[in-house]
Subunit: 206 residues, 2 copies
Amino acid sequence: MSEKISQAVIRRLPRYYRYLEEVEAKGVDKISSSRMSTEMGLNASQIRRDLNCFGGFGQQGYGYSVGKLKKEMAHILGLDKRYKVIIIGAGRIGHALLGYKGFMLEGFDVTDIFDADKGKIGTDIEGKKVLDINGLDRYLQENAIDLAMICTPKEHAQSIADRLVSLGIRGIWNFAPTDVDVRRGVAVENVHLSDSLYVLAYKLNQ
Amino acid sequence: MSEKISQAVIRRLPRYYRYLEEVEAKGVDKISSSRMSTEMGLNASQIRRDLNCFGGFGQQGYGYSVGKLKKEMAHILGLDKRYKVIIIGAGRIGHALLGYKGFMLEGFDVTDIFDADKGKIGTDIEGKKVLDINGLDRYLQENAIDLAMICTPKEHAQSIADRLVSLGIRGIWNFAPTDVDVRRGVAVENVHLSDSLYVLAYKLNQ
DNA sequence: TAGATTGTTAATCGATTAACAATC
DNA sequence: TAGATTGTTAATCGATTAACAATC
């Protein structure tokens, strides 16, 4: 927080967290940067440097405590809190995200799902009744929601994002194939699944 | 192809492609790096440099032809070919990917979907009958498939990947929350949706 | 203490940006 | 031709890696 953490470092944080979960599950309780280096395929200096952005979690001559480091990592990522989430768009991706039980374990509670399609509103998906997007403003006034997942067609993504932000949403996970822009202070992650598929096609042809 | 293209450049290619589709749809037929710079939020030098990795597509004093550049981009990414694709895992993500019509337009034909669950095998999803994973080897011997999307639980991702590669699959789009490793010459894109959610949580807390 | 491994500074490497000559 | 804009070289910036002193 004091000095600015680079994007490159931030993008590696979830990977550290995943790795630590894995080794903890194996019953490992002490780990060195050199072992992490071998097993993760990252440079050991880089690992120590990355971790030191957030504090001195290690101990010279010993290494890092897996349990402590994982806990610190969870805290840095904000995974030691719980988040209330809504999904906008009850198409296939919205449906898939709603049904993914992993989110709940990780602290993300999907409270409701919205759609504009009269044919979908009121139907039941994964045990949730699809709500009318027209009731969104009132809903957000009455419920404290932390973040929204946008699973609409790309045409509606930006306007929905604007509406969400104006209603107080502070974080947006966007699956529509377009970048949504928001004012400073609001967090957005644009997923762009097809970008990843395009890169795969590129690699396939090398 | 001659000189090595950096990962950073490769990751920007789909973004150029998306942008070019957009401006073409608006009827723009000529574009300069400086306009691209403003509209995409990238540095103009970087754009010219990136494009020049693949050839001199522009014309001094004029700029780039949108149609030509988009076509070149599609060619570089390999989007001017068609790919036969199978999906492994008929859970929610597999289902969502199978149903996404956009892939077909972009050259990716999903021919079949496989699962190990007796309760799912033989059922109909999005007009496809779910096939038994036990028949995978034979299926791949009899059908020329270019790439596979892995949508299994993480425990099975690596072993399925190994099997796919040994059967001749050259590209893997992996949605299981673990990195799959393959031999040189096989292309993999590990998606890691939850990494992106974790980064969002991180940003939310800054 | 001796051995191990961190935290951190210094060196290297690569990517981004600026500048400008070439040229349409 | 004059103006515009590319392609490309040179300068800058930031990220990665190596090295090592601090210290458990």
